[in-house]
Symmetry: C3
């Protein structure tokens, strides 16, 4: 799935009216189903989701504010951001002042529509450009929100690509934001591309893709999959991957999990190749669903890959976070980095030498240059020697790559060769 | 107890003739009793004190050196430093040369009287300014020391302010120096102020104040309180807190005990607020009673707070260490730092989250801003999120403060709020 | 054994035709026997040596290449390097082109003879200066190698100097190189000097000296001495110690073993005394027999002391590595550093205080300055205080030297004094 296809997917999903529940999410997941066999899981209202409870399902059909002349001065049909998420139905007439108590705008960016929600406290409201709000004359207004907030379901998407072993990797994106492109159609598109490209490949570890409403969605998955959390040896949340900033990797809570070390190495390798600088930041308890996966009871080693950080770019949670923020090249770069991180995690393993008493005789097995006395060995042989020397069962390929300062791929190739010759196996 | 009161206390104690035993110490402890209910503990001569034995009690009444003309050229009445501590009684006539073998002076500071002792080896001597010594004519002298060195007691003071738990904090000062102001009337005054200010406060941990003759006094306490040593979760010796140098904290033997981390943070916070630079130094086996508390068999995590270091300031152990070295402001600063260190240790605790599966729903408990989608959370909420994320039972509030780089007080406030809402408890 | 004697030993050994087996090694070991009672161990062909098998014994008597005029253009009698090690017997006539397939030379250094081997793959060949090879006319050549490759033995030398305890130190040098001076007659000479100087000394730890053919020799020793490997608390391989480069210490696999810390300190002390800079490098799985001793199944803490690194100096494995590379002073310096490293390891020990409750009363035992109240204590006393303070049984003298930043010798002297006075013992 190339960048143009990722961009087309983002464009297709952009108009849908998503929230943490409702048909917008369902429609989004169905669209993803055209690329990968994403299963849609429906969790009934009232179901436990760890410390939380699945809320009522919210669906929004029509909403507007009419001036006294009958003109629709604000209309859901123009932007999914116009209506505060989880607004209750309303149809009444109000004075300008009464209306204003239900309006949200951004004074610093008077032409942008903010995005607001009131998931867990009943209310209603409209979002609009501050310039427009300021210009609303002092007259009577008619407000109309045709929404339902009723028992229903929370929907999330799940796709599992099995591996040869029980352990698995996790890729999770939030799917609850309406017409916001960077946050997080970019993450949805990259995850979809990664899944479609991994689908046909042989792999050691399973890879699980989750498309979840933020917080409540990952908690709902965790509630129903507690026994799986221990199998996850590494993972990523993907968010804000289309804007012009360089890549940033946010570490897991552990800070030195394999995924953290692999992400660091992958990004450093790219920098060394002149493919752009990136940033590593420590875990902090704000952001996206990595907070839930890393919670004390689960401690899944899940980091987060992003460009701009949530809340740290001007267009964040506003109508300015539109499709123009994304680029084909940046989505592809993010996809490649995710594939490389997952790929290294898949090849990584703890191992032990099966000939730990000194250096085994490689020559007898046909994997040593026969004529002794020469200069430095070739890289593959050197990688084999490092692996054998470290092979006490406590080291992973990643450990050896770090200690030897050799490329991970070279270490992994050497490990495969040694395994073929029965000189190492998994520890 | 403010700085002026601390200064007045130092002035009152200054003339007393203290040593490691004797009435000078008793009188000092009785004076402290006017501020706090300090218990005076009397340990008989010959009692074991860990590897040591409590020595005979020494009391000095009168002492002088007379010239052939009958003039007292050196007189105890002028300075408690004139007589070598633990001098045995003497009354004889000597030549100038014979006398000189019993004299001590400081050539580099010809007008200062040094302070010398001979606790554990019998002898006698006089200390005097080097200029005076050099000018003594070659004639016969009469020396007289009316002292007693007899079975009696070693006296130390103890004050315990109980807390709600069995663990306790320790504050220890040495009280064996005669008319030396910085070393250690300053420490005695600060400890007295801290005790008087803590007396009325609610606290979690007990606080024990010890007023002990150096080395032998703390060893006598340890001998009689072995079972208590394990309850001490942190402590300080206080010494040389009145001079003009910045504050120095000497770490406990462990080096990274809670008290070390708290002291470092408190001093760093003061520097960040422009309240002056300070220094952190590693433990070394010289100094004051922290050496005994940190001994291998006890390993009580006791650091030391000081300004100038023992032996590292010109006036050290001489008559120049007089009351002019102290200032009201510096005593108050030291008092405040000690209170802050003890206060943070008192609030610190290991804890665990009672809702460890993901982030608990703060909104349901009324402690979350209800309207989602906004910018960075307020500091209190951020502190709560850090606490909940770290709440696997292995973290203390101090750990969370360090990891989050948030002020300890903010973390502790958030912890109190979470505890009120049954979201965390002590682990 | 002084530098001149070491140099004379190297000169005597230089002409011998050594390989991994054969009479050249035997003659070498017999020569060492004149200095120290080195036992010659004979391991039969076909014996297991960990993952390897002892090869057939190779002995070379005569070898040459004759031009069509009957002139010996290459002759073993001129240099032991002329014949590829482990060449099979041959006597035939070849064209210039056929001959060339069996020739080895170094184009970058046209006047040097390279050193080549074919231990584990049958073949034969000659090594010669590139200039000579290039000038060989296109005619018929007669080649003759009178060698035997038959069942026999691998020979290695072993010398054990017992200590008072079961633990031991290891010094290992490779003895398989023919007329190469720096690599490794220098190591052989230094090891011989060290052994002869240690022979008469009292010591705590045994010291084992191995003189082994590279790789296969140390593996043969390991195969027969598995139960001893656990007793080795530190060791060194010695190699390339005569050339003009500064000293380099290569760490053991562990990286922070006692031998690594001692070697670091010894070299730092020399630098501080202006005796020359040195380098510390991490373990890597190339070099000499330290690879075998540090293998996963053994993990003997063996580092390596050298000047130039194998493969990193121009003359490496060529006729230019001749006796002119060595100097008396550099051999003596290396000898002294090895003696110092072994000496500190011998004195080092874990210990515990026998008076761990506070600081014991040194005065009662006559090891404290009697008059209290003075300035900083003397270094010996300070070292005693450090030892007593650290004496919880988990510290070694090396730990205390590092923590106190005092010279190891001072700490060890203080430890001996404390042990005499029954204040510490081994833990």
């Amino acid at each position: 799935m190339n960048g143009a296809e990722m961009m087309a997917l983002a464009e297709e999903l952009y108009p849908l009216c998503r929230s943490i529940t409702g048909d917008g999410v369902r429609e989004t997941l169905r669209t993803l189903g055209r690329w990968n066999p994403v299963e849609i899981v429906e969790v009934p209202t009232g179901s436990p989701a760890c410390d939380w409870v699945v809320p009522r399902e919210w669906n929004l059909r029509e909403a507007w504010v009419k001036s006294s002349s009958g003109e629709k001065v604000v209309d859901l049909a123009d932007s999914t951001l116009h209506v505060v998420g989880y607004s209750v139905p309303v149809h009444e007439k109000l004075s300008r002042a009464e209306l204003d108590a239900h309006l949200h705008s951004i004074p610093e960016h008077p032409s942008w529509i903010p995005w607001r929600n009131s998931y867990y406290e009943e209310g209603w409201g409209f979002c609009l450009p501050h310039a427009q709000r300021a210009a609303l004359p002092d007259e009577e207004y008619e407000v109309y929100i045709d929404a339902s907030l009723e028992d229903g379901h929370l929907s999330y998407g799940e796709l599992f690509l099995p591996g040869r072993r029980d352990e698995e990797l996790l890729v999770s994106v939030h799917v609850c934001h309406p017409s916001l492109a960077n946050d997080n159609l970019s993450g949805i598109a990259v995850s979809t591309a990664v899944a479609s490209m991994l689908a046909g490949r042989d792999r050691t570890l399973g890879v699980r893709f989750l498309y979840v409403p933020g917080t409540i969605g990952s908690l709902a998955w965790l509630e129903r999959n507690r026994e799986r959390t221990g199998r996850v040896v590494g993972g990523l949340t993907l968010t804000c991957l289309g804007d012009a900033a360089g890549l940033t990797y946010k570490r897991s809570f552990a800070g030195d999990a394999d995924v953290d070390r692999v992400a660091k190495a992958v990004l450093a390798d790219r920098a060394a190749q002149g493919l752009g600088e990136s940033e590593l930041i420590d875990f902090y308890p704000y952001g996206y669903d990595e907070r839930q996966y890393n919670a004390p009871a689960f401690r899944m080693p899940v980091g987060s890959l992003m460009r701009s950080r949530h809340g740290r770019f001007d267009e964040y949670h506003s109508s300015a976070d539109d499709l123009s923020l994304l680029s084909v090249e940046r989505l592809e770069e993010a996809r490649d980095v995710v594939l490389e991180i997952l790929g290294r995690l898949d090849r990584n393993r703890r191992y032990r030498s099966l000939a730990p008493e000194g250096e085994p005789q490689l020559g007898r097995r046909g994997i040593y240059r026969a004529l002794g006395g020469g200069g430095d060995p070739a890289a593959l042989q050197y990688a084999m020697l490092w692996l054998l020397q470290c092979g006490d069962g406590s080291h992973s390929l990643l450990d050896v790559a770090e200690r030897s300062e050799m490329p991970f791929g070279q270490i992994a190739d050497a490990a495969d060769l040694l395994e073929e010759h029965a000189l190492i196996d998994r520890s």
